[in-house]
């Protein structure tokens, strides 16, 4: 049996997709939250073992462009992280018990090493960490960076987070 088979998440759970710019908080143990095909986007996953509350936010960009007004806070790290933490708290999670992990933040094309989209993935993760630090909650694990697409799955029942890379490798965070 290969390592990836051992670590593969249970498929019996209903997979609920967390799309780009979406934030989903769930308490139903039959559900797994999945952020598919992350490139430079970062999926931040949270689990409170006490309240059995789980959530995933799929962040696209570090911050809105100067002067731009956007209706969706979950699109950006600066607005998305506080919104995510508030939504988790409203569902009964306690900040001190939250376990937070992240995946994504890759740079898909080396040709974009210059220009306005430079290092968006790295900046996404950096700003997420800053926002978490401001809230006093550590990021305990991350599978980020490189030039590889990833899918993150969070089991609401167990809090287990698996990250599947486009190479086929799967790891648990």
């Amino acid at each position: 049996m290969s390592v990836s088979t051992v670590l593969a998440p249970k498929q019996a759970e209903t997979q609920l997709a967390v799309g780009i710019g979406q934030c989903i908080v769930a308490r139903d143990p039959a559900v797994a939250l999945v952020a598919y095909g992350l490139g430079s986007c970062v999926a931040l996953a949270a689990w409170d073992a006490g309240a059995r509350v789980a959530g995933v936010i799929h962040i696209l960009l570090p911050e809105p462009a100067a002067g731009a007004v956007h209706g969706n806070p979950a699109r950006f790290a600066t607005t998305g992280v506080p919104y995510f933490l508030q939504t988790l708290a409203e569902a009964g999670a306690q900040p001190a018990r939250l376990r937070l992990v992240a995946a994504g933040g890759a740079q898909m094309l080396s040709m974009l090493a210059h220009g306005p989209l430079t290092g968006i993935g790295v900046r996404n993760l950096a700003v997420i960490k800053e926002c978490l630090q401001a809230a006093g909650i550590p990021l305990v694990a991350a599978d980020c960076g490189g030039q590889v697409g990833r899918t993150l799955t969070l089991s609401v029942a167990t809090g287990h987070v698996h990250v599947r890379a486009s190479t086929g490798a799967t790891q648990q965070l």
Binding site: G37, G39, L61, V148
Partner: protein
Amino acid sequence: MNMGPVLTMRRARQLEVVHRAVMLGLQTAAAQLSAFAGQAITIEAPRLGLCAVEDLVACALGSAFDAAPASDAEVVMTGIYLSMGGDVAGHVVLLLAPPDARALVAPLIADLDPPADQREELIHSALGEVGNITASGLLNALADAAHLRIGPSCPAVVTDMAGAILELPLLDIAQVAEEALYIETTITLAAVAATGVLALIPHPAGLDALIRGLTAAEARGGRR
């Protein structure tokens, strides 16, 4: 998915003008690509869609009326990506299943009979050229029709999850807009019975420039 942005009649008429120009551009691209690849390649009539930027990946992989399942974003595809510059900024992405991408360029490199260690590099390079030809054919036709300067960047070829590849245009558009226009079509390789997705995603300011150019040119030409 929500119902997405609402089109006004005026906007719909403007987009019809873009649709006609893109259709002609794709015919040019298909002819040039067929000549290059030495095989019959057809590109279907394009579909224009307007969606919330967050839905762009699902819509480009499916359509505005029939978005692809979210899990399609993790299907590994070979993507050929070019950015557009000049008067109309934006993005062009060609997505093919990896075996189909290889089949598309196999006849081109067969005669070269490259050593094994250079084979991947040649396939990569030939796929970049496929992107170049497709994007140039399309963009030159649009530029001529709108009397604008539009040119593609060098192509980048990457094999990875479709969602991770399609994020690139999204990152750019999402900084400035809530909705994205995408022009999506199916590219069919007769010899290998394969299909892929070709998506053109203009920057909002570029789309406005394109609409102005095409509308003015059509008015001068005495058309609607």
